[in-house]
Each structure stands twice: as C-alpha cells, then as structure tokens.
C-alpha cells in the first residue's frame, strides 16, 4: 500500500479523480440551478463547491508530486 501511494501511478490517479470530482461538482451546481432550486438548492451548491475544492486540492497534490 505504501509503495502504491508513493508511485507516479497513484499521483496520476489523484489527477483523474480530481478531474472527475471537478466535473461532478460542476454537474451538481448546474443541474441544481437549472432545476429551479432557489434557496432549496443551497445545500447542493455547497456540495458542488466542496467537490471542486477537493479537486483543486488533488491537483495541488499532483503538481507537488510532479515538482518533486
């Protein structure tokens, strides 16, 4: 497990899952907005933003790994 999480393959996996989270976050925000959810959709917007924030965090980790 330790060898796996230190490998370039794992870093790339973080990049891929980060991208997926960013996409899902965008989908959640867009669909919630398009569905006509006003204040009812607030929780959905926060969820979408949290997913995008996690994606950004993973991208940072990936680029940190690449720089090393």
């Amino acid at each position: 497990m330790r060898r796996l999480v230190r490998s370039p393959g794992y870093a790339r996996a973080r990049l891929v899952t980060g991208t997926l989270f960013a996409a899902l976050g965008a989908v959640v925000i867009v669909r919630t907005a398009a569905g006509g959810a006003g204040w009812s959709g607030f929780s959905g917007y926060v969820l979408g933003l949290a997913m995008i924030a996690l994606a950004v965090w993973r991208f940072r980790e990936y680029f940190g790994f690449v720089r090393k």
Binding site: M1, V28, G35, G41, M51, A53
Partner: protein, 549 residues
C-alpha cells in the same frame, strides 16, 4: 482503530510510540474513524429532519469544518496523543481538561456500542436472521458478542494493522465515490429535491433534532491528533491530510442527504406498513432501514446498485467494526493519558502483566458500553419496557438514544476545544503554528502580538447551538449526558481531594519543557528552534520591562 502502534523502549525505559504513519496512513486513520459515521447518521437524520435533512447536514457540516480546522491547527502545533482532552487541559486547566476528556470517554463508549450495533444492522441486509426489527434478541446478542470480542482482542493486544485500515478506507472511498457518480449522473433530479423539501419540510423542533443528530456524522476528529502523535513530520503532513479528510467527509454527507431527497430510484420502493406509497427519504429513515441507510440507498442507485446491494453492507460493516474498535482502543488510551496527568485514578494506567495492555481500562469502558447497550436495547426486548420508555422518553428507539448521547459528548468536548484554541492563542503565542484557522484579527496582548481566531468563535457558536439543540430535543440525552458529566466531576473532585491535589485549580505544569519534548520527539527540529527563539525573545522582553519598572 489503531494504526501500526508499536511501543519502543527508549533509553529511559519509558515506552513511546513509533512514528511510522505516512500521509496516506494519517488520512486513512482519520477516514476509517469519521468516514464510518455517515453509515450511522444518514438514516437517523432522515428519520428526524425529513425534507430538510440536507439542511441539517449542511449546518452540522459547516460547524464540522470549523472543528476540523481547529483540530488541524492544534494537532499540528501540539502533535501529541490525547486529542481534545490534551488541548483543553493545556489551554483551560485541569478541571476543564477532565471534563473534555470525560466527554470524549462518553463518546468512545457510545462509539463502541453504536458502531457495533450498526455493523450488525448492515450485515442484517445480507443475513435477515439478525435483523433488529424481526429478531431483537439475536441482534442484541450479536452486538454484545462483538463488544465482548473486541474487548478480549484489545486486552490480548491483537489489533488490525495499519495496512488493513488503509485498504478498507481506500475501498470505501472508491465505492462511495462510484455510488455518488451513478446517483448524480443517472438518478438525481433537482425538481424532486425541491418538491421533497417543500412537501416534507419538518417543524422547527424536528429540524433542531435533525441538526443535533447530523453532528454524529462528523465525530471522530480525535483521530487527527492521535495520528499526529505517530506521524512523521506532523506539522507539515497533518494539515495536508486533514483538509483532504474534511472535504471528503463533508462531500459524502451532503451528497448522500441530497441524493436521499432528490433521487429517482432504479427500482420501486416497497409500500409502507399501511400499504401507502412512501418517498425514498421516509423509506431510508424508518426503523427497518435507518441503521443501514447507506446500503439501502446504494442498492437503489441505477446500474451500480445491483452490485452495491451485495458489497456495500459488507464494506460498511467492516468500516463500522473498525470504528467500534477505535472506541475500545481510544477510551483506554485517553483514560491512560488522563491517569498519567492525575485527572483519573492510577488504576486506569495499570497494564496487564502478561499482555502489557491497559486491561482494566479496556474492561471498564467496555462494561460501560454494555450497560449503554442494555439501556438502548431494552424497549425492543420486552413490551413492558417499550411502554415505560414511551411514557418517560417519548418512545425513543435504542439507536436514537445512542445517537443522542454521542451528539451530547461530541458537542460538549468540541465546545471546550474551541475555547482552548482561543485561550492558547493568547497564552502560548510562542509555539510556531504551521497551520492556522483562517480569519484572524491581530491584537496586542501583554506587550506581544497575538491573533484572535474569528473562525473559532463562529465554530464555538455553532457547536454551542448544537449542544442546546441536543438538550432541547432529546428527552434521554438531556438527562443521561449531563448525568455522566456530573458524576464524573464528583468523582474527580473526590479523587483530587483524597490525593491532596488542587481540587478546582490546576497543578503547576512546565509547558515550555513539555513543548520542547513534543517537538523534539516529532522530529520538528526547525519548529523547536523557532519556539526556543520565541521563548528567548519573550524572556528578554520581560526582563527589559522589569528593568524599566
């Protein structure tokens, strides 16, 4: 849960923990503790807050983010086992340190029962013979057997390995993420979400109840500080892994609650007991499913649900069992630490002569857990108790009672942790903080520069309101929780008086020496140098002030 905790004997023959936890290990340690909570919390919150469950999770989630940031700052600054209890002990003094530790101990004992109970609930989705609603006695004996088994394993000293923790956490994250992808891409309908929120909006009382239960989905942050004690270079690793952990847990809690309110299921939902059509949130929050809501929700997701119906109960059960074990392990360790600082009697420090484990602590807290189990299970075991509970406690079911106490213990200890963080910013500005909670106001205090943490105040107000919601809405929790604290404090006062120690005041502590030791043992030598320089500057400033006066 225990990562690879191995005891090494130093030159002074004093056992210390080997720092062998990697960033991923640190993340998975926290995840296997906090990540299991949503498996328990989702059904309870849906049952309580109905169409506003996502709002309940959002409120509790915002508070949780503040708590997570507070633990991250404190664990990176004071990387020592003991968690909230240690931070409060250091920031607010002995008696508050005791109250925080005693609240955490309540949570750990509940943790043992609640997660063992929920573990059996998840398994019952594949083995109906142990289902709580149909076979309460079998369910009771299974939960009892799990607690007894964990106690014996911990006394003998067998613990799951860090690698096992990491593997289960990794599998669970992949699984939960996959479920969310299928759910949000193929079944989530915002129109349904809006409709559910409008038609099933709860009363204010129900919403407060839901918020107070939602916080249990975010309990277990003690593991961040526990991991800090055993992580290499904790000051840089802990903030990195904690932020990732906080976001992951928040996403899962918000995503599941939004899905439960706004998902159109792949297969029709069975009618309720009266033959009426029932919405998804109602189906997940009823007594039959609320103990295993994540598994039931996963099985209803299009395409992936067919597969998820088989493996999610097993994966959930394993994660819950790990979390239950963390209660056994954590309670004995906190009691051991509190005993070492003379907050609890020395009996809790006694180790088994053969197995070298704190056997008395383990047996004592598992005994408390069994009492809680009996109290929670009684209404389902005999109709007379059901009638009694209905008269006295509005008929709260067993798992809700455990949830009440869990929320009380967490809210009480987290409130004190926020106060301790604020106090430490003023009392100990010399300790280098590699991570700080955001939003700080710079101030001058006793001639030195300090930063007042606004986020800690927001977090404190949030968690204090959740504590008040627990007291307002939970008939059992409002009695049992404070009773635990009152009896604990009485015991503490008697113990301190008998030992001729300061009863209400704190003993003198050499925090400077303690901090140098902590940083040295953590391998944070640059931080130690910075700390020594800060302390030296403070001493020089004070000497100068004395000369002037």
């Amino acid at each position: 849960m225990a990562a690879n905790v191995s005891v090494q004997n130093s030159a002074s023959e004093r056992p210390s923990l080997r720092r062998a936890v990697t960033p991923w290990g640190s993340f998975s340690w926290g995840y296997s503790d906090v990540g299991a909570d949503i498996f328990v919390g989702l059904g309870l919150v849906l049952g309580a807050a109905a169409g506003a469950s996502n709002v309940a999770f959002l409120f509790a989630g915002i508070v949780y983010v503040c708590i997570g940031l507070a633990y991250t700052e404190l664990a990176a600054t004071y990387p020592v086992a003991g968690g909230g209890q240690y931070f409060v002990f250091r920031g607010l003094g002995d008696i508050f340190g005791f109250i925080a530790g005693w609240s955490v101990l309540l949570d750990f004992t509940i943790d043992i029962v609640l997660f063992a109970w929920s573990c059996v609930d998840y398994l019952s989705k594949l083995l109906p013979v142990i289902a709580f609603t149909q076979h309460p006695w079998t369910h009771f004996f299974f939960v009892f057997g799990l607690i007894a088994g964990l106690a014996v394993l911990n006394i003998v000293g067998v613990r799951e390995s860090s690698a096992f923790n990491e593997l289960v956490s990794g599998l669970d994250i992949v699984s939960e993420t996959t479920i969310l992808f299928f759910g949000f891409f193929f079944a989530f309908h915002p129109e349904t979400l809006v409709h559910t929120m409008q038609t099933a909006w709860p009363t204010s009382f129900q919403l407060m109840n839901g918020v107070s239960l939602a916080i249990i989905s975010f309990v277990g942050l003690e593991s961040i500080s526990q991991a800090a004690q055993e992580t290499q270079r904790p000051a840089s690793v802990i903030p990195r892994t904690s932020i990732s952990l906080i976001l992951t847990i928040l996403i899962f809690a918000l995503a599941y609650s939004n899905l439960a309110l706004g998902m159109q299921t792949a297969t029709p939902i069975p009618h309720d007991a009266h033959g009426h059509v029932q919405p998804l949130w109602h189906y997940l929050g009823n007594e039959e499913n609320n103990g295993a809501a994540v598994a039931v929700l996963a099985s209803l997701v299009p395409y992936w649900g067919i597969l998820a119906a088989f493996y999610v109960p097993v994966l959930g059960a394993i994660l819950l069992l790990i979390s239950s074990n963390s209660g056994v392990f954590g309670s004995s360790r906190i009691a051991y630490a509190m005993s070492g600082t003379q907050l609890l009697p020395s009996i809790f420090q006694r180790v088994h002569p053969r197995y070298r484990t704190p056997a008395i602590s383990i047996a004592f807290f598992c005994g408390v857990a069994v009492l809680e189990l009996i109290f929670a299970a009684l209404p389902s075991l005999h109709p007379a108790f059901k009638a009694l509970y209905a008269r006295l406690f509005r008929g709260e079911d067993g798992i809700t009672f455990l949830g009440d106490l869990y929320a009380f213990g967490a809210a009480a200890s987290y409130s004190l942790v926020f106060l301790a963080l604020i106090a430490l910013r003023f009392k100990d500005p010399q300790s280098p903080r590699r991570f700080k909670m955001p939003l700080n106001i710079p101030l001058t205090y006793r001639g030195g520069r300090v930063e007042f943490p606004v986020t800690a105040v927001i977090g404190f107000l949030g968690i204090a309101s959740i504590l008040s919601f627990v007291m307002i809405t939970h008939q059992l929790g409002r009695i049992a929780g404070p009773t635990w604290i009152v009896f604990g404090v009485l015991g503490y006062l008697l113990y301190r008086a008998r030992k001729q120690l300061p009863v209400l005041r704190s003993q003198p502590h050499d925090w400077r020496k303690a901090q140098i030791n902590i940083l040295q043992q953590a391998g944070e030598l640059d931080m130690m140098d910075e700390y020594l320089a800060n302390v030296k500057a403070l001493d020089e400033r004070k000497a100068k002030e004395r000369t002037v006066t």
